[in-house]
């Protein structure tokens, strides 16, 4: 394949999953119409969910899910060693995602609740970045299929992709939505990174912040707005903590 005379390499890609729902991987397979072009552009050498081919010569690794056990840690480290570019795919991989909700309880308590005295190998929920360096974070729960393909195109062209720095609100207006805050819902759109095409507000459903913070975040103002409209601080905080994507910048 050529672009303006430059021969483009067909990068080898591995797609891996850890603790998560595999919804993000599914997004890749979900674009049936373009799947053929995708397979033409990159060589998928490892994608357990849909392929029995397993090779370890991948250059770009897309990794889904959070890390909860030692064996997972070891496997992730191995992937990191092989991959030139490691992409954390989805909220679980980028921030721990909803898995973090269980961190509100202690681990032994948690295990006992579900498995009784049965032995289960599990540790605290960690995002990829806690263990290995991550090159690119593809946000969202699940990731958007368009954004995934956009990322792949950029990687093939050798361009470092620039994710939107603006919040969801911008795209929400572009889709001519009515604002869900005006309609009486909590929405994290004003502080959440755009790029999802505002699917949630589009469906009259406030944003939950699965894509994490936009480049400029004004928590105080967001809180004030919601409190003025009759929500409690607790409700907003619960929302902000749901995907754990704001951890680190929101206390």
């Amino acid at each position: 394949m050529k672009y303006l005379g430059i021969t483009l390499e067909r990068p080898k890609i591995g797609i891996f999953d850890f603790t998560g729902c595999e919804g993000c991987q599914l997004q890749i397979a979900n674009n049936e119409a373009s799947l053929k072009d995708l397979f033409g552009l990159v060589e998928i050498v490892n994608f357990r969910e849909i392929s029995s081919e397993r090779r370890d010569d991948y250059e770009i690794a897309f990794v889904e899910g959070s890390i909860t056990t030692d064996s997972e840690t070891a496997r992730l480290k191995k992937i990191r060693k092989q991959a030139k570019i490691l992409v954390a795919m989805g909220a679980c991989a980028c921030s721990g995602g909803v898995n973090n909700l269980r961190s509100r309880f202690s681990l032994p308590e948690t295990i006992k609740e579900v498995y009784g005295e049965h032995h289960i190998d599990s540790g605290p929920v960690r995002k990829l970045k806690d263990i290995v360096p991550v090159d690119i974070e593809l946000p969202g729960c699940p990731v958007s299929k368009n954004e995934f393909e956009w990322l792949v195109r950029n990687l093939v062209l050798g361009i470092t992709p620039q994710f939107p720095t603006y919040p969801v609100c911008v795209e929400c207006k572009q889709r001519l939505n009515s604002c869900v805050v005006d309609m009486g819902m909590i929405c994290l759109g004003p502080i959440t990174r755009g790029g999802c095409n505002a699917v949630c507000p589009r469906n009259r459903f406030g944003c939950w912040g699965c894509r994490g913070p936009s480049d400029e975040v004004n928590f105080e103002s967001l809180m004030e707005i919601h409190i003025k409209r009759g929500f409690s601080e607790e409700q907003v905080v619960e929302r902000i903590n749901f995907f754990n994507t704001f951890s680190g910048i929101f206390k």
């Binding site: 998560g20 049936e32 357990r48 081919e53 509100r104 948690t110 609740e113 009259r204 459903f205």
Partner: protein, 428 residues
């Protein structure tokens, strides 16, 4: 004179491919006898039951959908239904219809993914659909078009294909507009012939011959093929109400698996397309029955590989039924799609038929509308025991037929795949 050489067989498949989640198969044959044969779930648990604790109820369907990326709509529906049942509220009719349509879209989506992407390569001697594109392009095109339609329908009825956004307690955040429905109906009519074309391909696949009689558990429909709510039945004659689900599942732990196992009247039971088909054959759409006839599958067939045929039959069922339901929705008043509710101290169960079988969600709420306790019983975990026993008996049969190590490994994987296990979901 035949010489029998008993070579020891040692099969260990780590992280089996083309299934959702992580499972291992281990088979050991010594002196021509099956010494060990396990279906081992190694998925790391996420402890969803714990995650639910303390959350406000409106977060339940959102969180529930994250249990599984493939059947997220079912989880959200079961979750919302459980809480609605608990608070004893009845959602408006338009919302009920739209929910069933969302369910149908997911069923079609999930079944096509499984049939075309995960199963077909086995019969076409390919490692994956990526290779099928080269050898059998038309099949992949068909898959793309059918699944494309299913994705559009999911987008329309659930907000997006994975992790729905419109399903909320008390109904939906919105129902599609008439114009959108009309467009979808057009799309649907275009898609139906593709399904028939695909049928011709699948008809030719030769399924392994293997039968192990088992118990089929599913919902029982009143006047239509069941997807959301209803009585729980088993082919061994058990019949229970939605909230008696614990008596139906009887979960227990085994030490080689992070997923729980279940049993009812015998050592194991099966759920899923074949169970639904068997228990509700009469309620299928006539076109779907026609397809069943063409595929030569009848209620009471126990070959687990028929699971895939039943899925195909269901694809026809959901697409034809969707066609009728969309027409109905276009002609009915859809302005009411959500009702208000007040949280109270209560508990409830919601049952739906996920693509892979019957799915239960249970919640106990406190008076502030926070979840105190949650329980989810996933179809695949109900199937694990059945897969486990099937595998043993299947492998024994294969050994008796004198099959070699490689072939046994391959067929064993095919058997597991036939159940379309959704492992991360079963561990949750």
């Amino acid at each position: 004179m035949k010489i029998k050489i008993d070579r020891p067989i040692n099969i260990e498949i780590k992280h089996m491919t083309r299934v959702e989640g992580h499972g291992d198969i281990k088979i050991r044959v010594e002196n021509g006898k099956l010494a060990e044969c396990v279906w081992k779930i190694v998925e790391t648990p996420r402890f969803f039951e714990v995650m639910f604790k303390g959350l406000p109820i409106e977060m339940a369907p959102i969180l529930a959908s994250r249990i599984c990326g493939i059947c997220s709509i079912s989880h959200a529906l079961a979750s919302a239904r459980a809480i609605e049942n608990a608070m004893q509220i009845e959602i408006p009719e338009a919302a009920q219809k739209a929910r069933v349509l969302a369910k149908h879209a997911e069923t079609l989506q999930s079944h096509t993914l499984h049939l075309f992407f995960l199963i077909a390569p086995d019969f076409l001697n390919a490692l994956s659909v990526i290779h099928v594109i080269k050898s059998n392009q038309r099949l992949v095109e068909l898959a793309a078009m059918i699944k494309g339609f299913a994705n559009n329908a999911s987008d329309l009825f659930a907000g997006r294909t994975t992790h729905p956004v419109v399903i909320k307690i008390g109904g939906l955040t919105q129902v599609p507009r008439k114009k959108q429905l009309r467009e979808l109906a057009k799309d649907l009519n275009v898609t139906i012939p593709y399904l028939w074309e695909a049928l011709d391909v699948f008809k030719k696949f030769e399924l392994p011959d293997f039968t192990r009689e088992t118990e089929f558990v599913s919902l029982k429909g009143g006047d239509c093929y069941p997807f959301i709510g209803g009585d729980l039945v088993s082919s061994d004659g058990v019949r229970k109400k939605e909230d008696e689900y614990l008596a139906m599942t009887n979960e227990y732990l085994v030490d080689f698996s992070t997923s729980k196992f279940t049993r009812l009247s015998r050592e194991s039971f099966a759920v899923g397309a074949l169970a639904r088909f068997s228990n509700n054959y009469d309620l299928l759409h006539p076109k779907a029955k026609e397809v069943a006839g063409m595929l030569n599958i009848k209620p009471g067939d126990f070959n687990p590989f028929f699971h895939n045929l039943a899925q195909l039959v269901e694809c026809f069922h959901v697409i034809y039924e969707s066609k009728d339901m969309i027409a109905e929705l276009i002609d009915s008043d859809t302005s009411e799609f959500s009702i208000p509710y007040k949280p109270e101290q209560c508990e409830g169960v919601g049952v739906v038929e996920a693509p892979r079988g019957i799915l239960y969600h249970y919640y106990r709420l406190n008076k502030d509308g926070k979840i105190e306790e949650a329980d989810c019983v996933i179809p695949t975990s109900q199937n694990h025991a059945n897969i486990y026993y099937d595998l043993q008996s299947f492998v024994e049969k294969l050994i008796a037929q004198g099959k070699g190590e490689e072939e046994i490994g391959h067929l064993a994987q095919m058997l597991v795949r036939a159940y379309d296990p959704c492992i991360s979901c079963s561990v949750h």
